[in-house]
């Protein structure tokens, strides 16, 4: 039997990114972090792996079963981070609990889930996001929602909706119903699938007081963009303080969102309960046309930090970089340009003046590549054309010769002290032109 070596292959669920795609990711990451920092969120970098006990604290079974675990040298169980929220919560709970609150952190990095790759879900994926720690005010929830929307605008995604839920509403309902664990699993599944037939069957087979029955039957209909009406109906259906508090909280958040002009983007859905298990208040997801899965999500997690140290209320959001890129590409007219196409290729002939000129051009903002093969004339133009440069400069001959490659055939001209600044200016201009044409201007 022959065994094929896996050396040189990559496992399923991870990928290489290169050229334009890698650049688009880095640029997206930079734009998102820039937007977060403008709102006062400071950077945080946490380890790629930690103790599995830390990472599975308060997560639901789904999250726990998806951890990529491995053994430390002393036999303790480690795992790759499955999200960024838990590591930040661990850091703040154990070490930063006495720093002035609220604390604001932003991050970007890859996270890992050991799953069968599926729609929008690989085993390694990138998240950029924010955590706002130490405030339970509805203004904090609204800030994270508004910042998520602001960040999406900053990267050029105009069309999206925020779907807003509140875990306390469903938790309060479960408290009121006092179901057996099996019945609770069955009900949660029916709600998660948004399956009215399963919910109807549950209601038929579970004897409940009329008021409870009605609250449950109406739950799938507590969704939509008509926020006032939905909150009003949900309030009338509330069975206890927990459910009432959920509605009061949502109303307060929506008031702030209305003040920042964001309410028209918001859809409510009180039956949305699909998440990682540590949320205690609002949950939300961002949906964009053409992408079948959420491109960002988040929520309030008031009990997580207390697992690691002093309790502290907190709320956060994470954007999936791959998913945001997908949404961006669906809305973009042109593909992202290859960023490493140089503006100018210089064959130096090892003349100091050539190196100086190249440095001057770089300082002016051009991408300059040195030819390492001592090419000249036709060979230099062919090479420069092949890598997408607008011009080639041959310093191996006297006088140094510039080739304009923007036309059908190269046009040669002598480079002089007078023509050099003109050349740089025109190259800069054509660079900016091509960026605007590619829809590549920096948005803010």
């Amino acid at each position: 039997m022959t065994t094929r070596s896996s050396a040189g292959q990559v496992p399923t669920g991870v990928a290489d990114y290169f050229w334009g795609e890698a650049y688009a990711r880095r640029r997206l990451e930079a734009t998102l972090l820039g937007a977060f920092r403008q709102w006062g969120y400071g950077d945080v970098v946490t380890p790629a792996f930690e103790y599995a006990d830390t990472l599975s604290a308060r997560g639901n079974r789904e999250l726990q079963s998806e951890l990529c675990r491995f053994l430390d040298r002393d036999g303790s169980m480690l795992a790759l981070r499955a999200d960024m929220t838990i590591p930040v919560a661990r850091l703040v709970g154990t070490r930063l609990h006495d720093a002035p609150t609220p604390q604001r952190f932003c991050y970007s990095g890859s996270v890992f889930r050991d799953v069968e790759p599926r729609a929008g879900q690989q085993r390694e994926f990138w998240q950029a996001g924010v955590e706002l720690l130490g405030s339970a005010a509805p203004e904090a929830d609204a800030e994270v929602l508004a910042l998520t929307a602001h960040a999406l605008h900053a990267v050029g995604i105009e069309h999206f909706r925020l779907v807003l839920g509140q875990m306390q509403y469903f938790d309060g309902l479960l408290q009121a119903l006092q179901l057996t664990p099996e019945a609770q699993v069955r009900l949660t599944q029916a709600i998660d699938r948004n399956s009215e037939p399963e919910l109807d069957a549950f209601l038929r087979e579970t004897p409940l007081p009329r008021r409870q029955q009605r609250a449950l039957a109406e739950l799938p209909r507590l969704g939509g963009a008509d926020i006032d009406a939905i909150l009003h109906r949900a309030e009338r259906l509330a069975l206890n303080k927990t459910m009432q508090h959920a509605i009061i909280n949502l109303r307060a958040i929506c008031d702030v969102l209305a003040a920042c002009g964001m309410l028209e983007r918001v859809t409510l859905d009180l039956s949305e309960i699909h998440n990682l298990g540590y949320y205690t208040g609002i949950t939300f997801e961002v949906l964009a046309p053409g992408v079948g899965f959420r491109i960002a999500s988040g929520g309030r997690y008031d009990n997580l930090i207390g697992t690691f140290g002093a309790p502290l209320p907190a709320v956060g959001a994470a954007l999936g970089l791959e998913r945001v890129l997908l949404a961006w590409r669906l809305g973009a007219t042109a593909p992202p340009p290859h960023p490493l196409a140089p503006d100018l290729v210089v064959a130096t002939g090892n003349h100091p003046a050539a190196f100086e000129f190249a440095e001057r051009a770089r300082r002016a903002g051009l991408v300059v590549v040195l030819d390492l093969e001592q090419r000249s004339d036709a060979a230099l133009c062919a090479y420069a054309g092949a890598v997408g440069a607008h011009a080639a400069l041959d310093w191996g001959v006297a006088p140094p010769t510039i080739f304009d490659l923007t036309g059908a055939t190269p046009v040669a001209d002598a480079l002089t002290a007078q023509s050099a600044p003109v050349l740089l200016a025109s190259l800069l201009e054509s660079k900016e032109c091509s960026q605007v044409l590619a829809g590549n201007e920096v948005r803010s």
Partner: protein
């Protein structure tokens, strides 16, 4: 926001080619939904004659995939296909056709002992996930043999001890010397919805669901 509103108007619905399609179209017609325009049977994407619904004709097992990815906003498939696929979609409506059951069947001459007595039965099936779930839940370490068709041949040719397959009338089982020993799940057709489309195209999605529901409501 204009384009969001524009998106609400158009819907893509994935229909399964084969056993469910005729009844699906009858139901849509009866509920007053626009039907795909007549075609020569080769085009895979069909526009409706009126209105703004498009239909994609796909293999039944692919319908949940189309819908989970959002390539289709809505889809029709059997509960068997949906549960086997483990796709994460909304399931707002069960439809009154495509009734059958997923069964465990054994050769007639095999004594019907409790499953837990079997040490490692070999089970042939087109539903490896559902079959594995069924045996795992009973603590039995079954050897699952995934086949693509004619599962009932398994025991006849000595490939498998048991089979898990869809049963409508039981005549195929009988003809092959098999008998149903357990019902794993009841099957019928189900309308599924993409989770994002459900929110982004709520008006259009609720319109379709509402019409079907009204038509299906008893009385």
């Amino acid at each position: 926001m204009e384009s969001l509103d524009a998106d609400r108007a158009s819907l893509m619905i994935a229909l399964p080619k084969g056993r469910l399609v005729d009844q699906t179209l009858q139901l849509f017609a009866a509920a007053g939904l626009p039907l795909p325009a007549a075609d020569n049977g080769r085009k895979l994407i069909l526009a409706s004659a009126v209105g703004d619904i498009r239909y994609v004709m796909s293999k039944p097992a692919d319908v949940p995939t189309y819908v989970e990815y959002g390539a289709a906003d809505l889809g029709i498939c059997g509960l068997d296909t949906l549960r086997e696929s483990r796709r994460h979609v909304y399931e707002p409506l069960l439809l009154p056709f495509g009734y059958c059951r997923l069964c465990l069947a054994a050769p007639v001459d095999r004594p019907d002992t409790p499953l837990r007595y079997a040490s490692q039965p070999r089970v042939a099936t087109k539903y490896p996930n559902l079959t594995a779930d069924f045996f795992r839940a009973r603590g039995v370490n079954a050897e699952i043999i995934a086949l693509n068709g004619s599962v009932e041949l398994g025991p006849l040719v000595g490939l498998a001890d048991l089979i898990v397959d869809l049963v409508e009338t039981g005549s195929t089982l009988q003809a092959n010397g098999l008998v149903e020993t357990r019902t794993i799940m009841q099957i019928q057709a189900v309308l599924i919805a993409n989770r994002a489309a459900y929110h982004l195209k709520r008006t259009a999605v609720e319109n379709v669901i509402g019409r079907l529901r009204t038509h299906l409501a008893p009385g």
